[in-house]
Symmetry: C2
Subunit: 346 residues, 2 copies
């Protein structure tokens, strides 16, 4: 299988190097093409998502992505900023479904701001829609008749978009504890009311899954109060952005958590949930576990290699249990030393 | 001064009764008119915000509000649901600025899901815009050419709306520790980009306040990781809805926290941040502290009675320190016993 490697900006290259080492150690039949993306692509090729990168991404069976984000690009017009690369990849490749598991690794109770007895209960997956919502609706600036500047963004979902992500939510819940919580703001938003109506329609095909609904403000409270109550959460692009970052932090370091963004044929982009962390880039301080675990998700979801994925995940869990700690976890290990620790277990 | 009392649904009447007792004990020159709102208004007068209620609200100097929300109204069309009453009051009365302080009361470390050393640092105010954003833009359902149902909501802000709430944010920060964090999603939304541009313009008038910017997904993480880093957060209606509920929960029980919604002349609506809690309504289990503290905010912000407000707040803090606990705080006190405890200190 062909893997597109997109290390990107900041700590992206460092963590992807370690993920690659782990993949290499498993002796799978994989080939790689590495291409620039984000700020580094803008600086070398004039665009955060160059055609040449998109070509490789289209041809690849799966994409392993580091991070994008580069402060030197802050004043560029929106379409040239690094973040547009990830939004563009999601849209061009039809990666509509984002899976974000959040669990607390044994031994990392101290890394979470939550009380250990609360944090230990966290074992959830957020299923976030990635191709619609206020992210991709018409947006712009206008000057009103009275001369005032105004910014606007249209939020919307149609029933097809909701149905396909709802199915992913129900399927994910079915393979876990059978509890799906759909998060919306139906008491205020028409987009949410349609969302809720369609999710209820889809529920008819999943009698074995228990469906509940929660307003997003309440969900943000409940994720702090008692995150253990959730099995699978399905939600739109904007609410998913907020809640999945919140849930990751509840589980401790965001240096530990991977994500998968999938199309409807199993092709996917895999990336750590952390960003490019320019403040520590190039210093060997970044935690490569999220990238390594993203490689595991890739093996499982896009390459049919569930056993290899299990091995990687077990190795990371074991290394952590044995005390391996990068700076974000309160330790002093370098990025490559953490890679060594995982490889040592493997 | 004339106070409009709007007890509303669920536990609203119980907690407002206690707030009223506390106000009465202070011998202030206040008169009250009590009017129905929410589900109870719908059931008696056919509308969640009847004209007669709105009239009193308009005439009053300040509004003390319990809660709205009534499960028997769940299947009504949107415009008749209880929540529309609070949205209508905010809009009709021009209550554009919502202040939500969040602090951990001494003795309530156990009530927070956060580690005590993290929770104890919380001392922040969220300033949320209440009259614009995707809450009040055009919204609806439509059927697309291919027959698919679609829901949409227009998010927007104009520069006047941003400027006036930004000023409230800066003024609030100036009276506290001088740190203002503006939360948006400017990497994706044009509405947010305008928001950020205007906040930066307003900052020129407040050289004594340190302004920072944070994306909403990061803010949701940081409120868990290290809420003590925030002094004042200013944000739009939707992000404010989510983050303020999250922040309250970080601080422990939502039974303890009040809010103020103000117009530009100091008139305000004061309400607990908790909802109508239909599951415990009428059982004397509700914590009246948030309502009592809302009355204190009313005295301070709308009635120029800062000393009386201080007295109430000190009395609540003292009662809690002395061990007064309703069920939400892990105790067994009834609603009126908690009222007695506060009155006892006063
Ligand atoms: C970088 C940004 C555009 C992106 C998003 O908002 O989707 C990020 O926050 C994420 O969650 O992957
Ligand atoms: C009831 C609802 C419409 C309201 C809101 O979303 O503003 C509530 O959540 C709040 O925060 O006061």
């Amino acid at each position: 299988a062909l893997i597109a490697l997109l290390p990107g900006d900041g700590i992206g290259p460092e963590v992807i190097t370690q993920a690659r080492r782990v993949l290499d150690a498993l002796d799978l039949d994989l080939t790689y093409e590495e291409v620039p993306v984000g700020g580094v692509a803008y600086h070398t090729l004039g665009h955060p998502l160059p055609e040449s990168t998109l070509d490789v991404a289209r041809r690849a069976d799966a994409l392993l992505f580091g991070a994008v984000g580069d402060p030197t690009c802050d004043n560029l017009e929106r379409s040239l900023r690094p973040e547009q690369a990830i939004l563009g990849l999601r849209k061009h490749l039809g990666l509509f479904s984002n899976l974000r598991p959040a669990t607390l690794f044994e031994g990392l109770e101290d890394a979470s701001a939550l009380k250990p007895e609360v944090a230990r209960q966290i074992d959830l997956v957020i299923v976030r829609e990635l191709n619609g919502d206020v992210y991709f609706g018409e947006k712009g600036r206008r000057v009103r008749p009275d001369g005032a500047r105004e910014g606007y963004d249209i939020m919307s979902y149609d029933e097809h978009e909701v149905r396909r992500i709802a199915r992913v939510g129900f399927e994910t819940a079915r393979k876990r504890r059978g509890q799906l919580c759909s998060v919306d703001k139906a008491n205020v938003l028409e987009t949410s009311q349609l969302w809720r109506d369609v999710v209820i329609e889809v529920a008819a095909d999943y009698p074995d899954v228990t469906l509940s609904h929660m307003y997003v403000d309440n969900a943000a409270m409940q994720l702090v109060r008692n995150p253990g109550q959730f099995d699978v959460i399905v939600t739109g692009n904007l609410f998913g952005d907020i809640l999945s970052d919140q849930a990751s932090m509840c589980a401790g370091s965001i240096g530990m958590l991977p994500s998968a963004s999938l199309d409807d044929a199993g092709k996917g982009l895999y990336e750590p949930i952390h960003g490019s962390a320019p403040d520590i880039a190039g210093q060997g301080k970044a935690n490569p576990c999220a990238a390594i675990l993203s490689a595991a998700l890739m093996l499982r979801h896009s390459l049919g290699q569930a056993a290899a994925a299990d091995r990687i995940e077990a190795a990371v869990a074991r290394a952590i249990r044995d005390g391996a700690r990068t700076a974000d976890l309160g330790g002093t290990m370098t990025t490559s030393a953490m890679g060594d620790a995982v490889l040592g277990v493997l």
